[in-house]
């Protein structure tokens, strides 16, 4: 969806216009549900996160401003933080360990020819990272793993996990800001 149209929609949502909210949900729901499924690995918990995120979006639409990036960036951050909070909650931790090893989670797709210049830059910069840095960034960002969970999952010492992620992110940032 055109970012400019999303901006019009979020401004209408901030004024309390319900049709705009529904249109925004219909347009962005599939991407945001994909993001939530990637992190939560359970339809039920991904639905819960998506619902709570959209309730927050409805109530906080007036807080959005362009300093936050595109409307989609703002909304995906809300969904991600909601998922992370749920993943870190006590009840989720109990069945978290099982799901970490589960197969069948949604696959990541690597767009062959991303149209968006930002996506092109990210793809290019990702290729400059060491394999380990990239793998650990993926485990943290897409699977919502903590440093300790990555340690348990990969057998790499905690300090190494932290420093590789940090190093990878700083390299990514330098490359993207060039």
């Amino acid at each position: 969806m055109d970012p400019e149209f999303q901006l019009q929609l979020i401004r209408a949502v901030a004024r309390g216009e319900r049709p705009a909210f529904e249109e925004l949900y219909q347009a962005t729901g599939p991407k945001l549900y994909g993001v939530a499924m990637q992190l939560m690995r359970s339809p039920e918990r991904a639905e819960e996160a998506l619902q709570e995120a959209f309730v927050k979006i409805w109530h906080n639409a007036a807080d959005y401003h362009q300093g936050r990036g595109s409307v989609m960036t703002w909304m995906s951050s809300i969904v991600r933080y909601r998922c992370i909070d749920l993943l870190r909650s006590k009840s989720a931790k109990e069945d978290r360990q099982d799901s970490l090893d589960e197969e069948g989670a949604p696959e990541l797709i690597a767009p062959e020819q991303p149209e968006d210049p930002e996506n092109q830059a990210l793809e290019r910069c990702m290729q400059t990272l060491d394999t380990h840095d990239l793998q650990y960034i993926h485990l943290a960002y897409y699977r919502g793993m903590t440093h300790a969970e990555i340690q348990a999952h990969t057998g790499t010492p905690l300090g190494t996990v932290k420093s590789w992620i940090r190093r990878g992110l700083q390299r990514l940032k330098r490359c993207l800001e060039e």
Binding site: P30, W58, H59, A61, S70, R82, R88, P106, I109, R166
Partner: protein, 235 residues
């Protein structure tokens, strides 16, 4: 430790956005974000740097029930049905509000004498405050709430207990005994202004209430544990 050292701040903001920062460190960082624009901007910068990673995630169509549940929770669906479903909790709030006598809103004078709020885009500066309420605990103010036109502004004081394990939600309790209506989440610090999803001027209001909810707000559409109730004073 100097949190606002640029390099350290950058690393912390990245940890926060990645989700690898957790527990007490995450709560402390959220408080820093609330206090410092510089910290917020660093977080926003990382959110924007990493957001294109979401392009790699395949879209998935959420089930229809997700939209239905969102609609119910933000009050789009038939409130009669919602009230029936949530009857036990609604009754609890009504009992609470029933016992509530006219609030001694001692702080309204202070509230109204504070300097003019920052002008919010889209709100005419001359918009007059029409309804106010102050939530207190042991005579200590927690939140100051005002309604001007279609805008709700809530200011949290330092006395509000913050946590990322729960949220506070604001409700109006209608005079006619119908189910409480959510006005959204309360800030745990600072000040928020947002458009009201319901017209508070058209409803006879018995009281306003704050409930304790799981993060994100009530999942049932009815208040959870009601912590504070006060009157909404019409100016």
């Amino acid at each position: 430790m100097n949190y606002l050292n640029d390099e350290r701040l950058d690393a912390l903001a990245a940890d926060y956005v990645m989700g690898t920062m957790q527990g007490q460190a995450r709560r402390r960082f959220v408080r820093l974000m609330q206090a410092y624009q510089k910290v917020r901007e660093r977080v926003w910068h990382w959110e924007q740097l990493l957001a294109p990673m979401n392009a790699r995630v395949e879209d998935q169509q959420p089930p229809e029930r997700v939209w239905q549940e969102i609609s119910r929770r933000v009050g789009f669906l038939d409130t009669t049905q919602s009230a029936a479903n949530d009857e036990p909790q609604s009754k609890g709030v009504m009992a609470w509000a029933g016992g509530f006598a006219t609030a001694a809103v001692l702080l309204i004078g202070v509230f109204l004498m504070r300097p003019d709020p920052t002008v919010v885009p889209g709100v005419a500066p001359e918009t007059m405050i029409e309804q106010v309420a102050v939530f207190t605990q042991n005579d200590q103010p927690l939140w100051l709430m005002e309604v001007a036109g279609n805008e709700l502004t809530v200011q949290a004081t330092a006395a509000v207990e913050t946590s990322d394990q729960h949220d506070y939600e604001l409700w109006i309790v209608p005079e006619d005994g119908s189910a409480p209506v959510s006005l959204g989440l309360m800030p745990e610090s600072g000040r928020i202004t947002r458009a009201l999803a319901v017209n508070t001027h058209d409803i006879a209001i018995k009281a306003v209430a704050v409930s304790l909810e799981a993060p994100g707000g009530s999942v049932t559409g009815a208040p959870g544990e009601v912590l504070y109730v006060t009157g909404l004073t019409i100016l």
